[in-house]
């Protein structure tokens, strides 16, 4: 409960203007809290006379926080290779572990793992817990969740990171529930608070319009998923030394109540936009499918892949696998062309870390120009054909040489 000291309150209204949720109002010179209060505590910090407080009942069980130590990264393994996000997590994991002066471990689950654990060591892991079992060949929430939770109970890491992939976002919530601890999804920033070593987890909410920093104060491990391409991997160092620990779990843990009958990989339109160096992305400004064809043509000329804003995908000009943004994919190409994309925040959060961003838009006040390296204010139907023609000319001269 948010408590208001009616004698202390001077009705200054600072709390009202601080409240993100519009939950506190000054009525007749006294602050009054309403139903929308989420107990976030902003007003308590803002109140200059200390009239606000949050009654936090003591947790019944405060787990022995200090006995949990070490940083873990779940390394996703599918189709004979480790998902690139695992290397990115080892990059940030290394920083967090060094700051905490604890070891960094990777957990590798799958079947036919071969020498893959060495990769994880080369990318920064001090040790790898490896479970190589046919029952883990297909991903199931039950087996993967049981094994990871069991390992965590046995070794008590203070932090567990996983990729916010289809697999990570599916089974990591189960692991957090099994371990009775907190989980923060889709983090874009992770940092250790120097004063107490707590993991500060920052993530977008409300479709990326708002960022929130979250902590897990009373329970361990502190768990977070991180989107692919948000963190940077370390350079691979084949000389790095580390320990590979083979684990044979209790067979009961490997049982699953969900059977995977068949795994189908989709190709064709399923270009992986997260792996392209050049992305040409189109939005509603292209007006129709024919307009969007300009984006396809430019992408082909540049040897890049086609991407799109939610607007273009919702209009049916291109499939969902091409969508960039909060509800689509996060991308980080060397060059990102934004054609006829205004730059809603939910789009910007998915592409803003691209190395070079080129925006073409009619409206000079479009938010996309705020993140662009180079901006062209103009009509896409004039600029794109010109650009395409120039590139064709060049290709012609090169071919003629």
């Amino acid at each position: 409960m948010l408590k208001i000291d009616v004698d202390g309150c001077i009705g200054c209204g600072v709390c009202e203007s601080t409240c993100t949720f519009g939950a506190i109002k000054v009525e007749d010179g006294i602050a009054v809290v309403g139903d929308k209060c989420t107990l976030c505590g902003s007003c308590v910090d803002a109140c200059e006379v200390g009239a606000l407080s949050i009654e936090r009942a003591e947790k019944v069980v405060i787990s022995d926080l200090d006995s949990w130590s070490g940083v873990w990264v779940f390394a996703e393994f599918r189709d004979g290779r480790i998902a690139p996000v695992a290397m990115e997590l080892l990059g940030i994991g290394r920083q967090l572990a060094d700051q905490r002066a604890v070891p960094l471990s990777a957990v590798l689950l799958g079947s036919g793992l071969g020498e893959q654990a060495r990769e994880l060591i080369g990318f920064g892991a001090d040790q790898v817990y490896q479970v190589d079992h046919p029952a883990l060949a297909s991903f199931t929430d039950d087996a993967y969740g049981n094994v990871l939770a069991d390992l965590a109970r046995a070794h008590k890491p203070e932090i567990i990171l996983a990729g916010a992939t289809a697999i990570g976002r599916s089974f990591i919530p189960r692991v957090a529930t099994m371990l009775a601890t907190g989980l923060t999804a889709d983090c874009t920033d992770l940092a250790i608070r120097p004063s107490d070593g707590v993991l500060l987890q920052t993530r977008p909410a409300f479709g990326g319009n708002i960022m929130a920093t979250i902590e897990c104060p009373h329970t361990r491990p502190q768990m977070a998923t991180v989107r692919p391409l948000v963190m940077k991997p370390l350079a691979f160092d084949g000389a790095r030394q580390g320990k590979i620990i083979e684990v044979s779990p209790d067979p009961v843990l490997l049982q699953s109540r969900v059977a995977v009958v068949e795994s189908i990989r989709e190709k064709g339109d399923q270009v992986n936009i997260t792996e392209a160096d050049i992305l040409v992305s189109g939005g509603r400004g292209l007006e129709n499918e024919k307009g969007f064809a300009l984006v396809r043509e430019l992408a082909e000329l540049l040897g890049g892949a086609v991407a799109a804003s939610r607007g273009a995908v919702d209009s049916g000009w291109v499939g969902y696998p091409h969508q960039v943004g909060q509800t689509g994919k996060t991308v980080c190409p060397k060059i990102y062309f934004a054609c006829g994309i205004s730059g809603a925040i939910q789009h910007l959060v998915g592409m803003q870390s691209s190395d070079t961003i080129i925006a073409i838009n009619r409206d000079e006040n479009a938010p996309i120009f705020g993140v662009s390296t180079y901006g062209i204010v103009g009509n896409v139907f004039e600029v794109l054909p010109l650009l395409i023609a120039r590139l064709k000319e060049r290709r012609g001269t090169r071919a003629g040489k």
Binding site: P173, G182, A205
Partner: protein, 259 residues
């Protein structure tokens, strides 16, 4: 078949902004809606009911005004509705929410299937569905994109993966979360609207659930929000100038220098 659909009333996230000066959420014109993914969950449940018989119960946790979302659910085919509402639930994170919903589901008795949207558009966590399944100790499948059949105590469906999809089979009772591709939600029927009008949702409070107060709301939450702020973007902008042709030439020169 007894099906429970979890729905959530959310602010229309695309309209939510922080005012950078006051750090206040700009609320003008922000409507409360049924979480869009939950519409697909409801439709999936109603289609299963139509095919295999049974009932659909819409379940929500929220303030009293969340009854509006239950009304919508009934208008779109739910048979009855349950509102889990208490001041003690305020400030709940996904951990406390899944506990509270699990207590409510237990209170409702036997069921065959729980259907949830893949995530809510305000928090975007996608954690409550799997968390609820774990607390009820039932299997789940997240990100269902197509339901094939539901017979002999098993449901067969496709779950979306990053590189394609898996055809999976789950024993019931179980839980699934759905993505938008799973179906096209129907618009409310006239009959449904009439029924929704007279809806009296069953209300369950913390006392009704015989819930452990230490597991509810902020107190029962494992995570806490420390700070809320507007996203910041780098602003190194170089606007090109001149005619369209001149700008294109400048751009090509810049691109050449990059490579």
């Amino acid at each position: 078949m007894k099906i429970i659909v979890c729905v959530k009333q959310v602010p229309d996230a695309k309209d939510v902004r922080l005012d950078p000066k006051t750090n206040t959420m700009a609320r003008e014109g922000v409507q409360s809606i049924m979480n869009p993914y939950d519409r697909h969950a409801l439709e999936a449940a109603v289609q299963l009911k139509e095919q295999y018989g049974g009932t659909v119960t819409a379940l929500t946790m929220g303030p009293p005004q969340a009854e509006e979302t239950l009304r919508e659910a009934v208008a779109c085919g739910a048979d009855d509705a349950v509102l889990v509402s208490d001041r003690a639930f305020a400030g709940a994170d996904t951990w406390a929410t899944s506990y509270t919903l699990a207590m409510a589901v237990r209170k409702l008795g036997d069921f065959d299937l729980i259907v949830c949207g893949k995530q809510a558009i305000d928090g975007d966590t996608a954690q409550v569905g799997p968390g609820l399944a774990q607390r009820l100790d039932i299997p789940y499948v997240a990100y269902a994109r197509k339901i094939h059949s539901c017979t002999d105590g098993k449901i067969r469906l496709e779950r979306l993966m990053d590189d394609g999809y898996d055809l999976v089979e789950m024993r019931l009772p179980g839980l699934l979360t759905v993505v938008k591709e799973v179906n096209e939600p129907r618009v409310p029927s006239l009959k449904g609207k009439m029924k929704a009008k007279s809806l009296k949702a069953t209300v369950l409070t913390a006392a009704d659930l015989q819930a452990d107060p230490a597991c509810l709301g902020l107190r029962g939450s494992t995570t806490q929000v420390v700070r809320v702020f507007s996203p910041e973007f780098k602003a190194e902008r170089c606007m090109l100038t001149g005619t369209a042709a001149e700008q294109v030439d400048q751009l090509l020169a810049k691109l050449d220098s990059l490579q």
